[in-house]
Amino acid sequence: MQDILAGLKEAVQLLTNLDSQTYQIIFLSLQVSGMAVLLSSLLGIPLGAFISLRNFPGKKILMHLVNTFMGLPPVVIGLVVYLFLSNSGPLGELELLFTPQAMIIAQTILVTPIIAGLTIAALSGVNKNIALAAASLGANSWQVAWTIVKEARYGVLAAIISGFGRAIAEVGSVIMVGGDIEGSTRVMTTAIALQTRMGNFSTALALGLILIVLSFLINLSLYHLTQREGR
């Protein structure tokens, strides 16, 4: 209805007027979530590979833990990270609270289980004979693991994309550890929450629309990168 149409119009206006506040918010969102996904991938993919490919006591329990943490509410993560980074908390010395770095930390904790869990799923879908074939061609165990990850690369990529989607769209954890400070820790989702609370629905929708379009473009370019292999 009215608000939605007004939102569409405002979205175009915000972008074309090169409104510096809007662009700052967009940029920070991409920085924070982008960095978080990068770190989560560096942690989550090897973790997922390790759990999936090796046998060790407690493997099943660890898998259940990963699956559980995939569904952790962002608000809870935000609260826990806040308590750690707080002045009165164990890591207060670092003075990281209410900074983008704190937001990256919180989102990394949020996204790593997701990437790990989906990596596990992707890797277990790989034909068991691949590992045998690789080994018979002379691969050592690291090389076999890497080969299996490469076989599952589309699944792993989907894991990363899922992780990014989760990060860029969440507000619960970044608002707690970032504080939604104008000019330094305000991102798209916290700005949308603020605009909504203030009753500026069309602005909130406009920002939401920009967020969706942004996600779409990023997904598109990620898939395009993989298309080159003729898939």
């Binding site: 920085q31 002045n87 900074t99």
Partner: protein
């Protein structure tokens, strides 16, 4: 083929890492001229701080971060030393904060009045300024009342009104929403219910035609007084707070120039000012 893909990945990676370093200076900014204020969303959303903070920042070459959350959360953040001062409007919670040793003292800088809004049909037939009578009328008629239920300044005032009227609000007519003021008003509008609100939020939403079913029924009076105060966190109790800058900001709030700005704030947008600055508050209002 591989080269192009690899190049794109490398480029993105470099961009991310560069931007991370670009963000680093922000973390280093915590120094002597950095102040963190924890305040309530309703105060922040009026835009008053947005107007005053830059003036302070310029005058004292300071950097001020404003964290707007619920009253309870603001005070908790201050207890943990993650804020150097608070600006809230909930006397009972403020006194608790001070009695626990976390705050130095209340520095009132402004006030305004809450309002009771409700359906135009006014089923409980409330009028006048006798709040205990009004609250009893609402309870007796079991007219729907929406409460914030979140220990916010508004919620604290609402609960004190029930207490003064000798009523424990309970029953299917009393709904606790747990959402912000704007969302609560919209809920009251939907359900044609009564609620307590600050006027700024009400005027904002009314101005956007979102509250066609509601109108202001009780517009002021002593019981609906809403007093804003600033409290510096006690450096003897909480380590690492920027006490001197907090004191300076509190003084700034009481400066004549600042008080003048507060007196006129909101006239353009709402037709009348949103606050009564301290200099204009009567003795009996300074509570």
């Amino acid at each position: 083929m591989f080269k192009k893909k690899g190049l794109a990945c490398l480029l993105t990676l470099c961009l991310l890492i560069i931007s991370l370093f670009a963000m680093a200076p922000m973390a280093m900014a915590k120094s002597d001229n950095h102040l963190t204020i924890a305040t309530t969303t309703s105060l922040n959303d009026t835009g008053l701080l947005k107007k005053l903070v830059p003036i302070f920042e310029k005058k004292y070459h300071a950097q001020v971060d404003v964290i707007a959350v619920g009253t309870g959360q603001a005070l908790e953040i201050a207890r943990k030393g993650d804020a150097d001062m608070v600006m809230v409007h909930s006397k009972s919670q403020e006194m608790e904060f001070i009695n626990q040793g976390y705050g130095e003292g209340r520095n009132i800088f402004a006030c305004n009045h809450f309002a009771i809004v409700g359906p135009k049909s006014n089923p409980a037939h409330i009028k006048g300024y006798d709040l205990p009578e009004i609250m009893q009328a609402i309870a007796k008629s079991k007219s729907t009342f929406i409460s914030r239920g979140d220990k916010s300044g508004t919620n604290t005032k609402e609960l004190s009104l029930w207490k003064e009227a000798g009523i424990q609000p309970n029953g299917s007519w009393y709904l606790e929403s747990g959402t912000g003021m704007g969302a609560t008003l919209m809920m009251a509008n939907e359900k044609k219910a009564y609620t307590l609100t600050d006027k700024a939020t009400f005027w904002t939403y009314e101005g956007k035609d979102r509250l066609p079913n509601l109108t202001i029924l009780v517009d002021g009076g002593k019981s609906l007084l809403n007093v804003y105060s600033a409290i510096a966190v006690n450096p003897n109790k909480v380590k690492g707070v920027n006490y001197s800058l907090a004191v300076r900001f509190i003084q700034f709030m009481k400066d004549m120039d600042t008080q003048k700005i507060i007196r006129n704030f909101g006239k353009d947008d709402y037709g009348q000012p949103l606050f009564i600055p301290k200099i204009l508050m009567r003795k009996d209002q300074l509570q």
